[in-house]
């Protein structure tokens, strides 16, 4: 009915429950309760002639360590049941399978190769903003996802751009149901204090901090968060008057609702009104997802090619060099996993630290300096999920842009190690190969290295340096 025919999909019953069949390629984000990896399902993986891997061969694997949750692990399963119940919706990320390995829970989902909308905004040049048509088609698809959720009396509770993904074909999808909830009966209200502070609706905060307000809340909280999300799309950041979470929460309940910053650009009345309809402090006055879909800001762009618009936007931002680098990196990890099939893949992965940022695609074309080894993605802050009145010291503060720029300063460019080490090593490896398969593998890897070095001069320097440091530290142990 509303399945997305143009998108390739995995058939869940053909995916195995054996973690060894999955090759984790890179960490693509941190959500509530876990980390998300880009992965390949080895048994059905078909490499293409040039060694690249197309985006539809990837899966997303969310790995949750249940040992970290001391109390009821049933709340972790909510997400699984949620996803399993939401098949066949174009605007919600596809769910395939879940299994457990020891204390780890592996949730296998659709991989959205174009990253999150939050990442998309980060890729925009500093003086560029989305136009209203682009905003409208993205918001429309978020609304369609929300409409489906709310129709089934489900509340997402953590709507923000970081939880809005763009699929390989350019469709917009909701993800991260880690804190979502099901309303069982009509009129039933929810009470838990969850979500991300900046996006949190006033009634969620009041319900937790104001003892006289014990009304609970319902699915309308997603609409408030959507309003903030629209501001994110327009202004490239959420309206955050303060870094202090307590102050953010206070501002949400005490001050007037945030509005679009009107001095910077021409903003149409329909967009202003749309935000205004979402950001009503009184939940009763807030429009529903269904009503918002009929709002002028959405209907005035009706009939346009939604995926086309998103894809055009993406390709205007896409840095082909960066893209290639990432694919090359994938192959390396893939190979190393295949060679050491016995070792625990996850442990291995945790040990693997690349100096380039595989999480943030905006870091294209340059390498971080060695000192900043730890990935520090601002992409997916874990939402706070607190009980009672213990706010919010844990919330992460976004890395400032300057800090980020400093991190991305590149190493001196040059192909010294490629010429003197990498290529020589590959030549020697080729001599030691005992069969044709091994020879082919080593040669295709050598070709990839050559290509990578061409596109990303200096890659081998970083790679060899890392190898050397790693070996040294292992020897010291």
């Amino acid at each position: 009915m509303d399945t997305d025919a143009t998108e390739s999909g995995f058939q869940p019953h053909k995916l195995s429950s054996n973690s060894k069949d999955y090759c984790l390629v890179s960490c693509i984000g941190r959500g509530s309760f876990g980390e998300v990896y880009k992965a390949i399902f080895k048994p059905t993986y078909v490499p293409s002639a040039d060694g690249t891997i197309s985006d539809d061969q990837f899966l997303a694997v969310k790995i949750i360590d249940m040992e970290e949750s001391e109390d009821d692990i049933a709340c972790i399963f909510t997400e699984v049941f949620f996803l399993a119940n939401l098949k066949n919706n174009t605007n919600i990320v596809k769910y395939y399978k879940t299994f457990s390995i020891g204390s780890q829970l592996w949730i296998i989902m659709e991989y959205c190769g174009n990253g999150s909308c939050h990442g998309l905004m980060k890729k925009l040049p500093f003086d560029k903003f989305l136009n209203e048509k682009q905003i409208s088609v993205i918001v429309k698809q978020i609304l369609q996802g929300l409409q489906k959720l709310h129709y089934e009396q489900k509340v997402h509770r953590d709507i923000k751009l970081a939880n809005v993904l763009i699929s390989n074909s350019g469709a917009v999808k909701l993800t991260d149901f880690g804190v979502s909830a099901q309303i069982r009966e009509k009129q039933q209200k929810l009470n838990t204090f969850v979500g991300s502070p900046n996006w949190m609706a006033p009634e969620v905060i009041l319900n937790n901090f104001d003892k006289n307000y014990k009304k609970g809340y319902d699915e309308k909280i997603d609409i408030w968060s959507l309003g903030i999300t629209v501001i994110e799309l327009v202004e490239k950041r959420a309206p955050s008057p303060d870094k202090d979470v307590r102050k953010i929460l206070q501002a949400t309940i005490k001050r007037d609702p945030p509005t679009l910053n009107q001095c910077s650009r021409n903003i149409s009345d329909s967009l202003k009104d749309f935000v205004n309809c979402c950001l009503q402090k009184d939940a009763e006055k807030r429009l529903s997802a269904e009503e918002l879909l009929k709002h002028e800001f959405i209907t005035k762009f009706a009939g346009c090619d939604e995926k086309g618009i998103v894809n055009d936007l993406l390709s205007s931002l896409l840095d082909h060099k960066g893209n290639n680098l990432e694919i090359s990196a994938n192959v390396f990890v893939d190979m190393s996993n295949n060679l050491t099939a016995d070792s625990d893949e996850l442990d291995k992965h945790n040990d693997t630290e690349f100096t380039f940022d595989s999480i943030d695609k905006s870091a294209t074309g340059s390498f971080r300096q060695r000192a900043n080894t730890f990935p520090n993605s601002a992409e997916n802050h874990t939402p706070v999920s607190l009980q009672e009145e213990k706010p919010v010291e844990q919330s992460t503060i976004e890395t400032s842009e300057q800090e980020k720029a400093a991190k991305l300063q590149s190493e001196p460019v040059g192909s010294y190690y490629y010429d003197k080490v990498v290529d020589v090593v590959f030549a020697n490896v080729a001599k030691r190969c005992l069969n044709l398969d091994a020879l082919n593998a080593s040669q295709s890897l050598r070709a990839l290295f050559r290509m990578t070095e061409k596109l990303q001069p200096g890659f081998s320097n970083v790679f060899v340096e890392e190898l050397w440091l790693r070996i040294k530290s292992k020897q010291q142990e």
Partner: protein, 369 residues
């Protein structure tokens, strides 16, 4: 679309009537593939329409009642469950939603539909049968299990339905389903077991654990999960066990559980598991064995035999925990362990009081601690 609106039934109850006609078609063995597909599509439409009416806030309460009446009472529910695996994903979900939203409705302070299901037990039995059959269904068994599991879960909110379900032998298969390799099936089964055995403690205690046979079988099934389950299974099984052990309503069960040395062994094995959470949860059951003033011989023997290891274990166990209750309990257990009679290796040096016990102590089987 217009074609279908022309055929649109007039009153909401009519929907159930036309739905029933299609369901009967689906059930007949002589139906051709084409007609079957057609009937499936029709069912899907009608179910969607019914759900629409239910969720529409403008629907008058009277016509809602009428709709539910027909859904539950005109064999519609029974027919739906009979062809459940033939329905599509959304239709099955719709059945679940209609069932769950209607079951608890009351007219004149009477839960009419619960009462109806009580006097028509074949419906509950059929629902449980569909649930169990889903386990073997490779194509969409997981979806069906989750959906029907949700319906059973809804039933378990009502004591009398809980009683009926408890009498169905399929309940025992839920334990086996917990070991299913399909994560969703395993987890759903645990949720059902937990709801079944903890929602109405008095019912369970009086009508289930009063039978020694049932109680023993329950222990055996639960122990199997504790011993052979995965991490997730063990954690969930321990949680259920703890809930039963620490609630005074289940005293009878608790007493017979802590009587049995094999159960103590299992609890000690879990206490020494490498997972911290399993250890802490196992501590909750282990402490009950220890605190029992009238320990059985077998239990005492195991404790005496492992006295030194246990003391060594507790010296480190939960050191960094700031939970005062936990620390208090731990110290209490250490006290009990210290007071246990010592294992005497050489009978000639022991006093007469203890010399009779060593043969029994050595006969206790070793544990992995």
């Amino acid at each position: 679309m217009s074609f279908w609106w022309k055929k649109n039934p007039k009153t909401s109850a009519d929907y159930v009537k036309v739905l029933n006609e299609q369901l009967q078609k689906l059930q007949s063995s002589s139906i051709s593939t084409d007609n079957k597909k057609k009937a499936q599509e029709e069912c899907s439409r009608y179910l969607d329409a019914i759900k629409h009416i239910l969720l529409d806030e403008t629907t008058a309460p009277l016509s809602l009642n009428l709709l539910y009446d027909h859904f539950f009472k005109e064999d519609c529910l029974f027919n739906l469950m009979s062809v459940f695996s033939m329905l599509d994903f959304e239709s099955r979900k719709n059945v679940g939603v209609i069932f769950s939203s209607g079951l608890g409705r009351s007219t004149d302070n009477k839960s009419v539909y619960v009462d109806y299901l009580i006097s028509n037990r074949q419906i509950i039995d059929l629902i449980l049968k569909v649930l169990q059959e889903a386990v073997a269904n490779r194509q969409n068994g997981i979806d069906i299990y989750l959906c029907v599991g949700g319906m059973v879960d809804e039933c378990l909110k009502f004591e009398q339905l809980c009683r009926i379900i408890l009498q169905n032998p399929i309940v025992w298969l839920l334990f086996d389903n917990c070991l299913s390799s399909a994560f969703e099936i395993s987890t759903q089964s645990f949720q059902l077991l937990h709801a079944l055995f903890t929602s109405f403690p008095r019912l369970i205690s009086v009508e289930f654990f009063s039978s020694q046979t049932k109680s023993n079988k329950f222990m055996g099934k639960l122990n199997k999960l504790l011993a052979h389950g995965s991490y997730v299974t063990k954690r969930q099984a321990l949680k259920l066990l703890t809930a039963l052990m620490l609630d005074s309503d289940y005293r009878r069960f608790m007493l017979s559980y802590i009587e049995e040395p094999e159960n103590l062994k299992l609890s000690m094995i879990l206490l020494s598991d490498k997972s911290k959470n399993l250890q802490l949860e196992a501590f909750q059951t282990f402490k009950v064995f220890m605190a029992n003033p009238r320990k059985s011989k077998g239990v005492t023997d195991i404790l005496i035999k492992n006295r030194e290891q246990l003391l060594k274990f507790f010296a480190k166990f939960g050191e960094d925990s700031k939970d005062e209750i936990f620390q208090g309990e731990k110290n209490y257990l250490v006290g009990i362990l210290n007071d246990l009679p010592r294992l005497i290796t050489n009978p000639s040096t022991g006093n007469s009081n203890h010399s009779s016990s060593p043969p029994h102590i050595t006969s206790a089987s070793p544990t992995s601690l």
